[in-house]
């Protein structure tokens, strides 16, 4: 079985800014990852470096034990789609698909045709004339049809309306079922993919804050709600990542373990969804 992508001590800085600060990570095969973090946290840079589009200052990235950089075999297993346009503007979409499938011998032409129909993509339009939404759609289609094992999608739903986002999620689930492989998706609209992703990576302040399964994360996130003073007393010493108040009722959001203190009757402990958790986790600087 393949080992996955192993990232060790990755450092990337640009002039005086440190974009990635000693990042170490393992991206396992056949899992769907959500890559979360504020704008400018370093998500795009990380994905670009893994896909060998940009270079790091130091650190190593290997796939199945050998480096990805300048390695044709490994590079054909990794695919990245991002806001940067890599196709000539004058290309018609059908030509674009033709050339990509010419390079990738096992490009899924059937799925490509099926998705083009589902998204109502006009194959004769020129790439440079596409709207933001259809620009994203073309990139999504290619990403789902290439025979790579690690697909990185950098904000794939930019400009997509609700219906097309649905088409995308369903297509993602279907193709993942048909041929399990790793997807790493960075997005800000967390609630829509919260249940599709099996693992979460959070980048904050150029470092990896969280790298775990959604199951584990949800199991360690709680909302402690009740009268403010009792809530504060109960949650004293716990990892409070945020709070909300409505009048005298307060909710403290906890990420991590609870304690052994007895829970007052007026205080309830419930769970919070991924969206709320991440908004609070990535909020403070």
């Amino acid at each position: 079985m393949s080992e996955g992508i192993i990232i060790k001590n990755l450092v990337k800085s640009f002039r005086k800014d440190v974009i990635l600060d000693n990042v170490s990570l393992k991206i396992e095969p056949e899992k769907i990852y959500g890559l979360l973090g504020r704008n400018g946290a370093g998500k795009s840079t990380l994905m670009n470096i893994i896909a060998d589009r940009k270079f790091s200052n130091s650190g190593s990235i290997t796939l199945n034990g050998s480096t990805i950089h300048d390695n044709d075999e490994n590079l054909s297993k990794v695919y990245l789609t991002s806001e940067i346009d890599v196709y000539p503007d004058k290309f018609k979409i059908k030509d674009l698909f033709h050339w990509v499938s010419d390079i990738y011998k096992d490009f899924n032409n059937d799925l490509c045709k099926k998705l083009s129909d589902e998204f109502k993509l006009n194959l004769n339009s020129k790439f440079g004339n596409l709207s933001t939404g259809y620009n994203s759609i073309v990139k999504i289609i290619v990403a789902l049809c290439v025979p790579a094992d690690y697909i990185f999608l950098d904000e794939p739903i930019l400009g997509l309306d609700a219906k097309n986002r649905d088409v995308f999620y369903n297509a993602l689930i279907q193709t993942y079922s048909d041929r399990p492989r790793t997807f790493v998706i960075s997005t800000h609209i967390i609630e829509e993919i919260a249940n599709i992703i099996s693992n979460v990576i959070v980048i904050k302040n150029s470092k990896i804050l969280i790298d775990d399964s959604t199951e584990n994360i949800l199991a360690s996130s709680y909302a402690v709600t009740g009268p403010a003073s009792q809530v504060d007393e109960y949650t004293d010493g716990l990892n409070i990542v945020g709070s909300e108040a409505l009048g005298k009722i307060k909710s403290n959001y906890i990420f991590g373990e609870l304690n052994d203190k007895p829970i007052p009757d007026t205080v309830t402990i419930s769970n919070i969804d991924l969206q709320k958790l991440f908004v609070n986790l990535t909020d403070k600087e």
């Binding site: 940009k54 590079l75 990794v78 940067i84 890599v86 050339w99």
Partner: protein, 269 residues
């Protein structure tokens, strides 16, 4: 042999450019003069045939080669984003461009042969003895066929050197971010104008100082590296040395273009 996955795409790209260059060339230098002649009333039917020249082919091919070497960004991005390493891309591209150069040289020499009227006149020699006139530069051998092939080889090496030069230049340019690139363009354009000026200045100075032995000897020495020996009247030229030097230059430039290529990162537009 390596994968050459991008071969079809690049060939398509190069042929596409060549076609359009040729098309616009024909439009500009054949169709347009005819149209103008029609409008000014000077048109005669024979103009259709005299307006076209075999040079059109060689020049279009040459321009297409320059465009394909200088404008590489889109192809590079396309390759890198579709799982092709920088190394493979450079190898495929260089191989194809060398093939392109070979084709250009064959076409231009073939056209030259066809054009020269006295090819068919002289009895036994089917290759014109005076292919390059009396310039002793290319009459190193007594055998005209050897001269011809030497000229062909040297032409290839020279064209390759400009090709590699442009490739290295383009790859160097692509190594930098958008802001730096703008500065680079400015510097390069300035140099393109400045260098001939500087060379002209140096030559004028040399002619002025004329008998100064040190500078003259230095100049003679530099030229001799390239196999060009200065004698009392004219130049005596050793093509083997020249070919060897050009080969070295080609290898150096090709290596530079490879090194620069391996350092290109993909930035936002």
């Amino acid at each position: 042999m390596m994968h050459l996955k991008l071969k079809n795409y690049l060939i398509h790209s190069y042929i596409n450019i060549t076609f359009w260059v040729f098309f616009y060339f024909l439009l500009l230098f054949w169709i347009l003069p005819i149209v103008l002649r029609i409008f000014t009333g000077n048109f005669s039917f024979g103009d259709v045939f005299t307006g076209i020249s075999p040079d059109f082919i060689t020049i279009s091919l040459g321009i297409s080669l320059i465009i394909n070497t200088l404008f590489n960004n889109t192809n590079f991005r396309f390759a890198i984003s579709n799982g092709i390493s920088r190394k493979s891309y450079w190898k495929t591209r260089t191989l194809l461009l060398c093939g392109f150069v070979l084709i250009i040289e064959i076409v231009s020499f073939a056209l030259m042969l066809i054009e020269k009227p006295y090819v068919f006149k002289s009895g036994n020699n089917f290759i014109p003895y005076n292919l390059y006139g009396d310039v002793s530069l290319y009459s190193y051998f007594h055998n005209p066929i050897l001269n011809f092939f030497m000229a062909f080889l040297l032409s290839i090496l020279l064209t390759l050197s400009s090709t590699f030069f442009f490739m290295a230049l383009n790859n160097f340019y692509l190594m930098f971010t958008k802001k730096v690139r703008r500065i680079l363009i400015f510097v390069i354009v300035a140099l393109v104008f400045a260098i001939p000026f500087m060379i002209g200045f140096i030559i004028a100075y040399l002619q002025y100082v004329g008998g100064n032995n040190l500078i003259f000897s230095l100049g003679k020495f530099i030229l001799s590296i390239f196999g060009i020996n200065v004698v009392k009247q004219g130049l005596y030229f050793n093509p083997f040395l020249f070919a060897f030097d050009m080969l070295i230059v080609d290898l150096i430039l090709a290596t530079l273009s490879y090194k620069f290529n391996s350092k290109i990162q993909i930035y936002k537009d």
